[in-house]
C-alpha cells in the first residue's frame, strides 16, 4: 500500500511494452488493399462469407502499400496486396518484394494480364477517359473534349483537374500514355502548356477530380472510366464521359502475394477466389471491367474494345517511373 502510487505508475507505463508482445494466434488473412474502404469491404465481405476465412485489411493508396511492404520486407505483416495499378506491382516485383504465384483460373490469363514470372496478375481493367460537367459545357457552349489537344482549348482555361502524377496511379498512367505517344520531350512540352493554361489544381488521389467535375469546381477531370462511372455518372452528378480519339492508355488492376507474408496458403486461396466468375461479377457494382470472359460487364460500362486504346506498355511504364517522374517535376516544378 505504501508504494501503491509508484507501483501503479510503473504498471501504467510498462503496460505498453507488455501488450506489445501479446500477438494474436488465430488464423487470419492480412491484406493490404488499394481499393477505397467501402469497395474493399464489399469484395472482402463476400470472400469471408463464401470461404469462412477471416480477413483483416488495411486500406492504403498503392504508393503507400509499396512503401509499407518495402519497409516491412524483413518482417512482412500482410500476405496479399489487393488492387492498385499494376505499375506499382511491377515496381514491387523489380525490388523482389513479391512471391510469384500462378492462380488457378477457369480461363487463360494472357501476357498483358500477368508478369512473366507470375509475380503479379491482373484482375480488372479500365481506360483513361475525360469526365466533364454538362452544365458548364452548355454554359461555355463547347463540346466535351474528344482529343488530348481539346484539353488546351481556351474554354477550359483553369478548368481541368487531375491528380499529381507522382501520387496517383491514374495520373501516372495518363502521363505515361502521353510519353508513349509523343516521346518524353514532346510530352513534357505539351504538359507545360497544359499545366499553365488549363490545370486548375492537382489532387492527391486519382478519383478526386471526378466529384470536382460533378460539383462544377472544374469543367473537366481526367480519370479511369470505371471510376468516372461509379463515382460520377452513377452517383447522379451531371457529368458525361468521353475518350481521346488519338487513343488512350489503360490500367490493369494488380493482385500479388507478398514475399514472406504470414499466411501464404490463405493468400493463395484469396487470389484464386478473385478470378472466379462470382467474384468477377461483383465488379458490376463499381463498373470495373472483369478479366474473366465469363463474367458479366456492368450496365453502362464500356469494354476495352469499344475505346481506341494505344498499345500501352505497362512494364516499361512501371520500370521507368522514377525517371519520368523526376523529369516531370523538374519541368513542371510542382
Amino acid at each position: 500500500m505504501k508504494r501503491a502510487i509508484f507501483t501503479s505508475l510503473l504498471v501504467a507505463v510498462f503496460v505498453l511494452s507488455v501488450f506489445a508482445t501479446g500477438q494474436t494466434a488465430k488464423k487470419v488473412l492480412h491484406i493490404y488493399d488499394a481499393f477505397d474502404t467501402a469497395e474493399a469491404k464489399y469484395y472482402i465481405d463476400a470472400f469471408e462469407k463464401e470461404t469462412g476465412i477471416d480477413v483483416e485489411f488495411v486500406r492504403m493508396s498503392s504508393g503507400e502499400v509499396l512503401a509499407r511492404v518495402e519497409a516491412e520486407a524483413a518482417n512482412p505483416q500482410a500476405s496479399v496486396w489487393h488492387a492498385g495499378s499494376n505499375t506499382s506491382h511491377i515496381n514491387a516485383a523489380s525490388k523482389g518484394l513479391l512471391a510469384p504465384y500462378k492462380p488457378k483460373t477457369d480461363f487463360k490469363l494472357t501476357g498483358k494480364l500477368r508478369a512473366e514470372d507470375w509475380a503479379w496478375t491482373g484482375f480488372y481493367s479500365g481506360a483513361i477517359g475525360f469526365v466533364s460537367n454538362t452544365n458548364l459545357l452548355k454554359e461555355k457552349g463547347v463540346k466535351a473534349p474528344s482529343s488530348w489537344d481539346d484539353l488546351l482549348n481556351p474554354a477550359f482555361a483553369k478548368n481541368v483537374a487531375m491528380a499529381y502524377p507522382y501520387t496517383s496511379g491514374t495520373a501516372y498512367t495518363t502521363y505515361a500514355t502521353l510519353i508513349q505517344m509523343l516521346g518524353l520531350e514532346k510530352a513534357l512540352d505539351w504538359w507545360e502548356k497544359f499545366d499553365k493554361q488549363s490545370i486548375f489544381q492537382y489532387t492527391k488521389s486519382g478519383t478526386g477530380c471526378i466529384p470536382m467535375a460533378g460539383l462544377g469546381e472544374v469543367t473537366v477531370g481526367i480519370a479511369f472510366s470505371h471510376d468516372i462511372l461509379a463515382k460520377g455518372v452513377n452517383k447522379g452528378y451531371p457529368v458525361v464521359m468521353t475518350f481521346p480519339e488519338e487513343g488512350t492508355g489503360y490500367e490493369i488492376g494488380g493482385l500479388s502475394l507478398i514475399k514472406g507474408g504470414p499466411e501464404p496458403e490463405l493468400g493463395k486461396k484469396f487470389i484464386d477466389w478473385c478470378y472466379t466468375v462470382r467474384a468477377q461479377n461483383l465488379f458490376q457494382k463499381y463498373n470495373r471491367l472483369p478479366v474473366n470472359p465469363k463474367a458479366t460487364v456492368g450496365k453502362g460500362s464500356l469494354t476495352l474494345d469499344q475505346v481506341k486504346l494505344i498499345d500501352y506498355n505497362h512494364i516499361w511504364a512501371g520500370t521507368n517511373k522514377k525517371k519520368f517522374i523526376k523529369a516531370w517535376r523538374d519541368r513542371i516544378g510542382k
Binding site: K2, R3, I5, F6, L9, L10, A12, V13, F14, V15, L16, S17, A20, T21, I31, Y32, T37, K41, E56, F57, V58, R59, M60, S61, G63, E64, L66, A67, E70, A71, E72, A74, N75, Q77, Y164, Y166, T167, S168, Q201, Y202, T203, K204, S205, G208, P211, M212, G214, L215, G216, E217, V218, K231, K235, G236, Y237, P238, R329, I332, G333, K334
Partner: protein, 569 residues
C-alpha cells in the same frame, strides 16, 4: 557564482538523497527511458534517414531541396502562411481578449465559449465548412462573387482564413490570461494623469502585453506551420511542407527525401518554440499581486468599444455560420447537386464508419489517463525534486509540442517498423503505435497542467508532511495528489480532445485494423463526399462534448471550486 567545490557537494548531496529512495531513482530512469524511446529516437530516425542515401552518408537530399523549386517553394509557402496566420490570429485574439477583459461587453461567458469552440473541434472542420460555404459551388459563393468578383477559396487566402479561425482562439487564450493579469488600475492611473486613450493604449496596455503578444504570435505560427488537415483540404496549388512531406512518402514511397522535407519543417517550429519558451516568456512583466484583477475600465470611448465589439460579434457570427453550415451540409442528399434533406449520410456514416468511431474512442480512452498520470508525475519530479538531468527531462518532454505532427509520424514509422536496441518489438500496424504516439504527443498538456497545479501548492505543506515522517510516496499520495486533482482532470479533458482530433502524426501510423475517425473524414473529403464528412465531423464533435461534460461532472465531485488551467502558452 557557485564555487565548483560547493557545486560538487550539492550534486553529491542530491545523489545521496536519490539513493535513499530507490523507487524514485527507478521511476526517474524509467521516465528517461520512455522519453528516449518514444520522443527522442523517432526524431533522431528522421534526421538520420534524411542524411542517408543508399546506406551511405549523403547530403544530396539537402542539396536537392535547395536547388529544386518544387521543394523550396513549399518551404517559402509554409513560412508565408505561418507569418500571415500568426499575425491575423494574434490580432483577432488580442481584440477579442481586450473586449472581454477591458470593456463592459455583455454576455462575456458566451463570447468566451464560442471563441474557444474551434479548439475542441478537429481543426480541419473549418476548412470543410469553408468549402461548403465558399467553394466553387458553395452556398454563399454567388453572393460573395457579386461583392468581390471572381475568387478561389483554394490557396493562400482561404488557408489564412480557415487557420485564423482554427488557431486564433489559441492567441485569444494566451492574451486573455495576459490581459487579465495586467492590473487595469495602471491604465486608469495613466488616464487620471491626463493621457489620452490612444496614448494609454500605446504606451501602457500594449507594452505590458508585448511578451504575451509575442508568445501568442509564436504559438500560432507553430500551429499554422505544422497544420496538416486544413492545407490537405483547401490549399489547392499552394503547396505547403507538411502536405508535401506526406505526399513524398505516401505517393512516391521516398522516405529519405520525405524526412528531409520534415526536417525543413521542424527547424522553424523548434526555433519559434525556443524563442517563446526561453526568451519571450522570461520577459513577462506580469506580476501576480494577489489582488483580484480583470476589472473593466469605465467610460470607454466609442472608438475603442466599436472595433472590439465588432470583432467579438463578427467572429462569433463566423463560428455560428461555419459550424451551422457543417450541420446543414450533413443532411443534404448529394452535396452541391441535390440539396434534398435526408438522413442517408448518417446511415452510410455508421455503416462505413462504426469501426473508426470504436477505434478512436478506444485508443483515446486508453491513452488519456496514461498521458495524465505520466504528465503529472513528470511535473512533480521537475518542480519538486532535485536530480541530475531535471532540466533535460523537462525540455525533452515539452519538445513534442514544437515538433510538427508530420515529423513525429514519419519518425514513428521509421523507429517502430523494426526491432531496435531500445525497443525490441515491432509496433507498426498495431494499436500500440497509435496509443503511444497519442500519449507522448499530448504529454506537454499533462505536464503543463501538472506544473500549473503544483505551482499553486506551497512546498512548505509538503515539507511539513516530510518533517512529520512521511516519505516521498506518502506525501505525494496524501498531500500533493488530492490538491492537484482538479488541474489533473482538466489536463485529462484536454488531452482527450487532442487525441480524438489528432490527424497530422496519426495519418502515418493508422492501419486497416486500427483506423481513426479523423483519417476517415479526410478520406471522405478527398472524394468530395462533403455531406458524409460533415456528418462524421459532427459526430466527432458530439463525442468530444459528451466526454468533456463527463469530466466536468467528475471534477465537480472531486474538487469543489476546481479551477481550470490554462492549457496553452
Amino acid at each position: 557564482m557557485i564555487k565548483p567545490g560547493r557545486k560538487r557537494q550539492e550534486i553529491i548531496g542530491n545523489l545521496r538523497l536519490i539513493c535513499k529512495e530507490p523507487l524514485l531513482l527507478v521511476s526517474i530512469l524509467a521516465i528517461f527511458y520512455f522519453l528516449l524511446t518514444f520522443v527522442v529516437s523517432p526524431i533522431y530516425m528522421v534526421i538520420k534517414t534524411s542524411l542517408i542515401v543508399d546506406k551511405q552518408f549523403d547530403l544530396s537530399n539537402y542539396l536537392a531541396i535547395f536547388s529544386k523549386r518544387y521543394y523550396f517553394q513549399p518551404f517559402l509557402n509554409s513560412m508565408i502562411l505561418g507569418i500571415c496566420t500568426a499575425s491575423t490570429g494574434t490580432l483577432l485574439g488580442f481584440a477579442f481578449a481586450y473586449a472581454i477583459t477591458r470593456t463592459p461587453i455583455p454576455f462575456k461567458r458566451f463570447f468566451r465559449l464560442t471563441a474557444t469552440f474551434p479548439i475542441i473541434s478537429p481543426p480541419f472542420v473549418v476548412a470543410l465548412a469553408a468549402i461548403l460555404l465558399f467553394g466553387r459551388s458553395g452556398s454563399l459563393t454567388p453572393i460573395v462573387k457579386i461583392i468581390i468578383g471572381e475568387y478561389s477559396i483554394y490557396g493562400l487566402g482561404g488557408l489564412v482564413l480557415v487557420e485564423t479561425i482554427a488557431y486564433g482562439p489559441i492567441a485569444f487564450l494566451v492574451l486573455y490570461g495576459v490581459l487579465q493579469a495586467i492590473d487595469p488600475a495602471l491604465e486608469e492611473a495613466a488616464m487620471d494623469l491626463g493621457a489620452s486613450r490612444a496614448k494609454v493604449f500605446s504606451t501602457v496596455t500594449v507594452p505590458l502585453a508585448i511578451p504575451g503578444i509575442a508568445s501568442a504570435w509564436l504559438l500560432v505560427f507553430i500551429e499554422s506551420m505544422a497544420d496538416f488537415g486544413n492545407p490537405m483540404i483547401i490549399s489547392g496549388d499552394f503547396r505547403v511542407l507538411s502536405v508535401q512531406a506526406f505526399l513524398q512518402i505516401t505517393g512516391m514511397y521516398d522516405l529519405s527525401r520525405g524526412s528531409t522535407l520534415a526536417i525543413l519543417l521542424l527547424t522553424p517550429t523548434v526555433t519559434a518554440f525556443f524563442l517563446q519558451k526561453y526568451w519571450v516568456a522570461r520577459k513577462s512583466y506580469v506580476t501576480v499581486t494577489g489582488r483580484p484583477t480583470g476589472a473593466t475600465i469605465k467610460g470607454l470611448e466609442w472608438y475603442v468599444k466599436l472595433p472590439a465589439y465588432a470583432t467579438c460579434l463578427l467572429f462569433t457570427a463566423i463560428i455560428f455560420l461555419f459550424y451551422g453550415m457543417v450541420i446543414y451540409g450533413s443532411f443534404q442528399k448529394l452535396w452541391g447537386v441535390d440539396a434534398t434533406l435526408t438522413l442517408k449520410n448518417y446511415v452510410e456514416m455508421f455503416q462505413v464508419g462504426k469501426d473508426y468511431i470504436f477505434d478512436s474512442l478506444t485508443l483515446s480512452t486508453l491513452a488519456t489517463p496514461i498521458t495524465g498520470i505520466v504528465g503529472m508525475f513528470v511535473a512533480f519530479l521537475v518542480i519538486r525534486k532535485k536530480f541530475i538531468g531535471r532540466g533535460l527531462m523537462e525540455f525533452v518532454s515539452m519538445l513534442t509540442f514544437a515538433v510538427p505532427g508530420t515529423v513525429v509520424g514519419i519518425g514513428y514509422i521509421l523507429a517502430f517498423n523494426q526491432r531496435s536496441v531500445l525497443f525490441p518489438f515491432v509496433l507498426t500496424g498495431t494499436a500500440w503505435i497509435i496509443t503511444t504516439l497519442l500519449i507522448f504527443r499530448n504529454m506537454p498538456v499533462g505536464i503543463r497542467s501538472g506544473i500549473a497545479a503544483l505551482q499553486q501548492i506551497d512546498p512548505s505543506i509538503e515539507e511539513a508532511s516530510t518533517d512529520l515522517g512521511a516519505d516521498s510516496n506518502k506525501t505525494f499520495r496524501k498531500i500533493t495528489l488530492p490538491m492537484i486533482a482538479p488541474a489533473f482532470f482538466s489536463g485529462l479533458a484536454f488531452s482527450f480532445v487532442k487525441a480524438m482530433t489528432a490527424i497530422s502524426a496519426i495519418i502515418f501510423v493508422v492501419s486497416g485494423r486500427w483506423n481513426l475517425i479523423t483519417v476517415a473524414i479526410l478520406g471522405f473529403v478527398d472524394n468530395s463526399q462533403y455531406a458524409q464528412a460533415a456528418a462524421m465531423s459532427l459526430l466527432l464533435i458530439s463525442i468530444v462534448l459528451v466526454a468533456l461534460g463527463i469530466i466536468q461532472v467528475m471534477v465537480g465531485r472531486i474538487g469543489k471550486g476546481a479551477r481550470t488551467v490554462s492549457i496553452v502558452g
